[in-house]
C-alpha cells in the first residue's frame, strides 16, 4: 500500500509538473519534447489504473504519433523562417495572474464535482461486462468498440479520414519531402530497418489478434503499423507523391466501407444495423480498421497526399 501510493503521488505530480512546463516553459521545442514525456507518464498512469489497452494506445498514438507530428511541424516552421526561432511565445504578462486565478477556480470546481459523484453501481459499462459472452470476444474494451458501440468507432474512422482530407485540402501544391533521402545515411540504417519494419507488421498483427481476449486491438495495431510507415518515410524509403494513388485511396476508406457495408447488409437482411454475424466478422472489420488507421497516420506524418517506394 505505502509504496504503491508513493508511485501514484509521483506520477500525479509528474503529470502536473510536466503540463505546467509544457504551457509555461520558455522554449517551444522543449515544450514539445516534454509533451511527449507527458504522454509516456500518462501511459504509466493508465497501467497503474488497470487500463493496459489505453497505456498502449497512449504510448503509440498520444505520445508517439502526436509527438512525431508536432516535431515534424516544428521543423518545417523553422525551415520556413530560421530567424524566428527565438521569438517569445507566451502572451501578455498582466493576463497571467487573473487567468491563473480563474483556471485555479475551474480546477477546484471540476475536482470537487468529480469527487462528489457517488460510485456508480449499474452503469452501461456493467451491462457491457454482463453481455460480453454473446459477442465472441473476451476483452470488454474490444467488445464495446466493435459490438456495443461500433457506431462510435465507425464515425471515428470518418474523423480520421477527415483529418487526411483536410490536411490535403490545405497543403500547398508541391509535396514536401520529410526524409533525408539525399544525404548519405549511416551504414546500419538499412540493416536495422529490414529488421524493424517486418517486426512492426508482426507486432501489429499480433496486437490485432490479441485484442479479442487480451489488451490490444485495431487502434494500437494501426498505430504500430503507422510507426513503421513513419520510419520508412523518415529514412527516405517511402517518398511523397503529388496525388493519392488509387490503391491508397481505397485503403484510406477500407475500414469505413467494410464496416458500414457489412452493417447495411445485416440491416437489409432483417437484422439490426451494424450487428455482426460472428466472431470472424469482428476480426474482418478490425483488420480493415487497422489498415485504414495506419495509412492516414503515416500520410499525415509525411505531410503528403500519397507515398511511393523510392525508385518507382
Amino acid at each position: 500500500m505505502g509504496i504503491s501510493l508513493v508511485i501514484d503521488v509521483l506520477l500525479a505530480l509528474g503529470l502536473v509538473g510536466l503540463a505546467l512546463q509544457v504551457v509555461a516553459g520558455p522554449s517551444l521545442f522543449r515544450s514539445i519534447v516534454l509533451f511527449v514525456v507527458f504522454g509516456l507518464v500518462m501511459a504509466l498512469a493508465w497501467a497503474r489504473l488497470h487500463a493496459p489497452d489505453l497505456a498502449m494506445a497512449e504510448a503509440a498514438i498520444g505520445a508517439g504519433i502526436t509527438g512525431a507530428l508536432l516535431l515534424m511541424t516544428y521543423r518545417r516552421l523553422v525551415e520556413l523562417n530560421p530567424e524566428k526561432r527565438g521569438e517569445t511565445y507566451l502572451g501578455s504578462r498582466w493576463l497571467a495572474a487573473p487567468v491563473g486565478v480563474l483556471t485555479g477556480v475551474l480546477v477546484g470546481l471540476i475536482g470537487w464535482a468529480a469527487l462528489q459523484l457517488p460510485p456508480g453501481d449499474t452503469t452501461a459499462g456493467t451491462l457491457a461486462r454482463d453481455a460480453l459472452d454473446e459477442t465472441g470476444v473476451s476483452n470488454p474494451v474490444t467488445g464495446v468498440l466493435l459490438v456495443f458501440r461500433g457506431y462510435d468507432t465507425l464515425l471515428e474512422m470518418g474523423v480520421l479520414l477527415l483529418a487526411f482530407l483536410g490536411a490535403r485540402a490545405v497543403a500547398s501544391g508541391r509535396a514536401h519531402s520529410p526524409g533525408t533521402s539525399e544525404v548519405s545515411e549511416p551504414a546500419l540504417v538499412g540493416a536495422l530497418l529490414s529488421l524493424v519494419v517486418p517486426l512492426t507488421i508482426l507486432v501489429g498483427i499480433y496486437l490485432l489478434r490479441a485484442g479479442g481476449h487480451a489488451p490490444g486491438g485495431a487502434f494500437q495495431a494501426g498505430a504500430v503499423l503507422a510507426a513503421g510507415g513513419v520510419l520508412l518515410s523518415l529514412t527516405g524509403r517511402l517518398v511523397p507523391t503529388d496525388h493519392t494513388p488509387l490503391v491508397q485511396r481505397l485503403v484510406l476508406v477500407l475500414g469505413l466501407l467494410v464496416f458500414s457495408g457489412m452493417g447495411l447488409f445485416m440491416l437489409f437482411a432483417g437484422s439490426a444495423m451494424l450487428s455482426l454475424p460472428g466472431t470472424w466478422a469482428i476480426y474482418l472489420v478490425e483488420t480493415a480498421l487497422m489498415i485504414s488507421i495506419a495509412l492516414p497516420l503515416a500520410l499525415l506524418f509525411a505531410q503528403a497526399p500519397g507515398l511511393k517506394g523510392r525508385g518507382h
Binding site: S31, M42, D53, E87, Y89, A96, A114, T123, G125
Partner: protein
C-alpha cells in the same frame, strides 16, 4: 486514496491546459495546451470509471480510445493548416484581421 490523487491530477492538468490555451500566442503551443486538456479529461474518465480498484468500466475505456484517435486527427489537421498559414502569412499566431480585407470565397 488513489482515486483522489488522480482526480486531483486530472483537474490540475485540464486547468493547466486552459491556462496555456488562453495565454499562449503560438498556435503550436495552443495545440499542446488543447492536448493536455484532453489528457485531463481522459484521466478523469478512467479514474471515475473505477480504475483505482480494478479493471475500469469498459465504456469509458472505449471512449478514451475514441477520444485519443479524435485528438490526434484534429491535431494533425490543425498542424497541416498551421504550416500553410505560416507559408501564407509568416505568422504562427492568430491576430484579429482588418475587417476590410478581401473576403474571398465565392466558390
Amino acid at each position: 486514496m488513489q482515486a483522489e490523487i488522480y482526480v486531483a491530477a486530472s483537474a490540475a492538468v485540464f486547468g493547466t491546459g486552459v491556462y496555456g490555451l488562453i495565454l499562449a500566442r503560438h498556435i503550436l503551443r495552443k495545440l499542446l495546451a488543447l492536448n493536455l486538456m484532453g489528457g485531463g479529461v481522459f484521466l478523469l474518465l478512467i479514474t471515475l470509471g473505477g480504475g483505482a480498484d480494478g479493471p475500469p468500466d469498459p465504456i469509458p475505456q472505449a471512449m478514451v480510445l475514441t477520444g485519443i484517435v479524435i485528438a490526434v486527427s484534429a491535431t494533425a489537421f490543425a498542424l497541416a493548416m498551421l504550416v500553410r498559414l505560416y507559408q501564407e502569412t509568416g505568422r504562427a499566431t492568430l491576430e484579429l484581421e482588418d475587417d476590410d480585407q478581401e473576403g474571398g470565397g465565392d466558390g
